[in-house]
Structure formats: structure tokens, C-alpha cells
């Protein structure tokens, strides 16, 4: 129970971009549009490179539940409609959060998510998703 309670209490997720990204902030809806393939760019019109963690990452199911309210199966079913109809590919999955941080540091147009606030000054949190 304590473990469950602790997990529920700290289920925030951090939507992170490069420190030089001119986009100051984003709404949850704008982030949903990027991560769910409805939009390919930041609200200011710049192309966005969206990065994800693997679908079987221990935090992925909670992240997508917090972002969309959907289960992982629903997210996969949704993406199978988009990717196999040639509309859009899901965000590129990276092996882990360490790789996410490294890639976002190198990509001014990148956006991704972390389960902890980034400590590196070259990254900036653009939205905190609360469960």
C-alpha cells in the first residue's frame, strides 16, 4: 500500500525541451497534439522532433494515462490507425531517460518527457503533467 501510495503521490511527468527553444510554454492540449501525431510543430509553427520512451518502459503507461486518459492498448490501437495508414509515425522511442536527456540536449527542436525534473541547465521544462 505504501509503495502504491508513494507512486500515486509522485506521478508527475515533465515535458522537456532544449533550453534555447523559443516556445515559452505549452498547454496540455498542445502537448497531446504533438505526442499523438495530430500536430508536427510547436504552436509557434516550428517543426518539432518528438521523442518517447519505449512502450514497455515502467513509466510509459502512467505517462500516457496522465496525458490522454487512455490505456497503453488504446494508445497502441490509435497509433496503429495513424502509422499504418501512412499519416504519421509515433514519436521515436529512446532506450531510457538518460538517452532522452542526451538527445534533447543536442536538438533545439526536440521535445520529450521525463519522470523527474531535469537537473541539466541546457534543458527546460515546458509543462508539468500531474496525475
Amino acid at each position: 500500500m505504501l509503495i502504491l501510495f508513494g507512486r500515486m503521490a509522485y506521478a508527475d511527468f515533465y515535458i522537456v525541451v532544449h533550453g534555447s527553444n523559443p516556445q515559452e510554454s505549452m498547454t496540455k492540449k498542445e502537448v497531446v497534439n504533438l505526442f499523438m501525431g495530430r500536430s508536427r510543430g510547436f504552436p509557434n509553427g516550428d517543426f518539432a522532433l518528438v521523442f518517447d520512451l519505449p512502450r514497455d518502459d515502467p513509466n510509459s503507461a502512467d505517462f500516457y494515462k496522465a496525458l490522454t486518459g487512455w490505456s497503453m492498448s488504446q494508445v497502441n490501437s490509435y497509433w496503429s490507425r495513424l502509422m499504418f495508414s501512412g499519416q504519421s509515425m509515433p514519436p521515436q522511442p529512446l532506450p531510457n531517460e538518460k538517452a532522452m536527456i542526451e538527445i534533447l540536449k543536442r536538438n533545439p527542436s526536440g521535445i520529450g518527457w521525463l519522470s523527474k525534473a531535469p537537473e541539466d541547465n541546457s534543458l527546460r521544462t515546458i509543462l508539468v503533467l500531474k496525475d
Binding site: 500536430s39 509553427g45 521523442f51 492498448s73 496503429s80 499504418f84 495508414s85 509515425m89 521515436q92 542526451e102
Partner: protein, 430 residues
């Protein structure tokens, strides 16, 4: 007792490929230096068994491009494997190829295995132009009807999707717009396609094809309108001798017979004609409920005319979704009867000639009467997402076929009948 008629080759090949895929882990391929993937390989598939309880010889099909079969317990109605390659060297440019392996008719050219093959260019994040083999995006599930994991029922409703053309060789342009809570998509397309019943040599060329689709999505509710024009450029090869026979009858000096010949020609000869597809769809996916509704009316040449629709409802309980649906198709009223050409033509053509003419009249009436698709079905099913990328589905369809309405079936006859179709399958994506 059921007869087991697996398409063993397809099922075994599919199993081997799936085993390799899961053994080898992910097929996501190479990654460029920190800027995302250049080449990604992904896929989907279905392993399915279908048992049909119908009159002897009647073969259930998920669409009329499937080859003939004579019913029973089969593994080749829904089983298929798809592989997709996406190569995106930049955010603006992408190459996509998708290949689908399944049992196909001997009248199908090998190139039909290519479901998608296009180059996409995105000058702006919300504007996409695609050239190559895309899809006729006129209907809700038109783009992903092969991808079982993408929808809840075991297959898109046969009454609705069973006779619609698939791919489009041409171009499409897609524009996305967002207004507050709603997400709009406008798509225009043009090109050519093929359609027809491939239980026999019924393939026809459709050109030009052009259309518009508008969809709006907001808070789980998707509403979609479509309008498409399909020019009919050729007749099925199997009808060529009959149409030549009717041509030869058009010059007999009896106006009543000529009028009847012209009536048959207008119902059987596709050339220089067209069909216009009007469609409306709604899909509501909120919390644990799914609602879907779609209707289409096709006007134009008699061979293209039909009205079809379906409604479905689903309730999610954990990883299980319970489903119920109803779908229907109807085509113009039948039957037509074979006119008597022996009596008026015997004095002119002689007995032998008049009997040959009568054979053309009878064959023409039969061809028209076989073109009807009038049936409805009730479906009950369940989907269990037992892994995040795999789902087990079971479904029972009770199909009622009206008199002169069995066009969607292989080896159907003109009599009305009822049939039960039981399906068990596993859908997966990787």
C-alpha cells in the same frame, strides 16, 4: 461436421515470420545521430479462423477482392501479415512502403501486394502532399482496414466495406487546422484505382478518381464527410463476350428488342460512366464507451449503385471490450426477367439464330440478377487486449441474405438465406 480448409501455406509462413519477429525483438531499425530515425520498420498481422454455417458451397468473404471459397472452417479469410517501411531523412520528406501478405485471387496482379508506396512532402507542419500509391480516404476505416489491431470488431463491416475499392495511384493533399477544442482535417485526392469481384475475372479500372474528405475531432467525437467521383473505364473481362453479343443484337430491325438490348447494355456496360460516393461517419470514443456509425450512398451507373450503413457500440471493461453491431447493404431492385426474343426474331434470324439471341437475353438477365447485394447482419463480439500490442477477438455474425442479394459471397445463389459466421482471431502490431 466442419471441413478444415486452411490455407496452410499462408498460415505457416505467417507463424514463422511472427515467431522471428518476437524472437528478434523490436524491428525499429537504425537511428541517425540524435535527430530521430531515418528508417523505421514496423508491421501488423492477424491469425484468424472463420467458421461459416451457410448453404452448401457458399463462401464468406471479408471483401469481394478475395478469391472464391466454398465455406466451412477456414484460416484464410482474415489471416494476413503486413510490413511497413518509413524512411524519413528530414521532418519535411518521407518515403513509405507497405506490403501485405495474404491469400489472394489468381486474378490479382502481384503489384496488389503493395498497399502503400508513396513519397510525402511537408512544406509546413500542418500540410502534407503525397504522391504514389495511397488510399481512397473516403471512409472511416478505409485507410487501415487491413490492420485488425486498429479496430474493435474482427473486421470492418462486410456490408459496408466489402465492395469498396482499396488503393489510389495518384496524389493527395492534407491540411490540418485547429480551432480551440476541435481538430479539423481536409483532404483532397485524385488518381486511379481498380475494383471488382475477384472470385472470377471481374477486375475493372476506375479512372479518374477524385474526392474530398473533411473530418472534425473534438473530445472523443469524430465526424467525417466524404464525397468521391469514380470514373468507370472498363468492364470486367468475364462480361466481354456477353457485351459483344448485346452489341450484335443492337441492329436487329425490331424496336422492342433493340429497346430491351439497350436496357441490358445500360445496366451491364460500365464504360464512359461513373459512380459518386457520398459518405457520413461518426465515431465517439469516450471513457469506456465506443459508438460508431457510418452510412454511404453511391449514385451513378447501375453497377455502382448501393446504399450501405452500420452502427456499432462497445463497452470497455478493463482490458476487455464487449461489442455489438448492425450493418446493411442494398442495391437497386431486382430481378429483371429475360425477355422473349425467340418469337420476334425467328422470322428474321431463323430458329438457330433466334435461340442464340435468346441465350444472350437469358445470360444478360442472369448477369444483372447476380449483381445484387442485399443483406444485413447482426454482430456480437469481444476483444481482449491481453498484451499492449496483441488482442484476441471472438465474434458471431448472423447474416440474412435477401433474394437476389448474394453478391458479397463466393458461390452465392439467387435464393434468400441465413448464415452464421463465427470468428476467432489474434491481431498484433510490432
Amino acid at each position: 461436421m466442419f471441413r478444415i480448409k486452411f490455407c496452410t501455406g499462408l498460415v505457416l509462413h505467417t507463424l514463422c515470420l511472427v515467431a522471428l519477429i518476437f524472437q528478434g525483438g523490436t524491428l525499429f531499425a537504425q537511428t541517425l545521430d540524435g535527430s530521430g530515425s531515418a528508417l523505421r520498420i514496423s508491421g501488423f498481422g492477424t491469425l484468424g479462423l472463420t467458421s461459416t454455417d451457410a448453404p452448401d458451397g457458399w463462401g464468406f468473404r471479408r471483401d469481394i477482392s478475395q478469391p472464391s471459397n466454398d465455406g466451412g472452417l477456414r484460416g484464410d479469410i482474415d489471416s494476413r501479415l503486413g510490413l511497413q517501411f518509413n524512411y524519413a531523412p528530414t521532418a519535411q520528406f518521407e518515403l513509405v512502403g507497405q506490403f501485405v501478405l495474404k491469400r489472394r485471387s489468381s486474378y490479382t496482379p502481384a503489384s496488389d501486394a503493395i498497399e502503400w508506396a508513396f513519397a510525402a512532402y511537408r512544406p509546413l507542419p500542418d500540410l502534407t502532399m503525397r504522391v504514389g500509391r495511397v488510399n481512397i480516404d473516403a471512409f472511416l476505416a478505409a485507410d487501415y482496414r487491413n490492420v485488425g489491431f486498429a479496430y474493435s470488431f474482427v473486421r470492418p463491416p462486410v456490408e459496408f466495406y466489402g465492395s469498396l475499392p482499396h488503393y489510389l495511384d495518384g496524389i493527395d493533399i492534407n491540411k490540418d487546422m485547429q480551432f480551440d477544442d476541435s481538430f479539423w482535417r481536409f483532404k483532397a485526392y485524385a488518381g486511379r484505382s481498380h475494383s471488382g469481384d475477384l472470385a472470377f475475372d471481374g477486375r475493372t479500372t476506375i479512372k479518374p478518381v477524385y474526392g474530398l474528405t473533411v473530418s472534425r475531432e473534438s473530445n472523443g467525437l469524430t465526424v467525417r464527410l466524404g464525397l468521391a467521383y469514380a470514373g468507370l473505364a472498363s468492364n470486367p473481362t468475364i462480361l466481354t463476350p456477353l457485351l459483344e453479343g448485346l452489341d450484335s443484337m443492337a441492329s436487329v430491325p425490331i424496336p422492342e428488342v433493340v429497346s430491351q438490348v439497350e436496357n441490358f447494355q445500360s445496366r451491364l456496360d460500365n464504360t464512359d460512366s461513373h459512380g459518386i460516393y457520398h459518405s457520413f461517419a461518426m465515431n465517439y470514443d469516450l471513457l469506456d464507451w465506443l459508438w460508431t456509425f457510418e452510412v454511404t450512398k453511391v449514385t451513378g451507373h447501375p453497377t455502382t449503385r448501393f446504399t450501405a450503413g452500420y452502427a456499432g457500440i462497445g463497452k470497455r471493461i478493463g482490458s476487455v471490450t464487449l461489442l455489438a453491431g448492425y450493418s446493411r447493404i442494398s442495391t437497386p431492385k431486382l430481378p429483371v426477367s429475360a425477355p422473349d426474343w425467340v418469337t420476334p426474331l425467328t422470322p428474321i434470324l431463323g430458329e438457330a439464330g433466334a435461340f442464340q439471341a435468346q441465350a444472350i437475353a437469358s445470360a444478360s438477365a442472369l448477369a444483372v440478377n447476380n449483381s445484387g447485394a442485399n443483406q444485413h447482419s447482426i454482430s456480437l463480439g469481444a476483444r481482449w487486449d491481453f498484451r499492449h500490442n496483441m488482442a484476441l477477438k471472438v465474434q458471431w455474425d448472423q447474416v440474412s441474405v435477401d433474394e437476389y442479394g448474394a453478391r458479397l459471397w463466393a458461390n452465392g445463389t439467387l435464393e434468400p438465406t441465413n448464415a452464421d459466421v463465427y470468428s476467432v482471431l489474434v491481431d498484433f502490431v510490432f
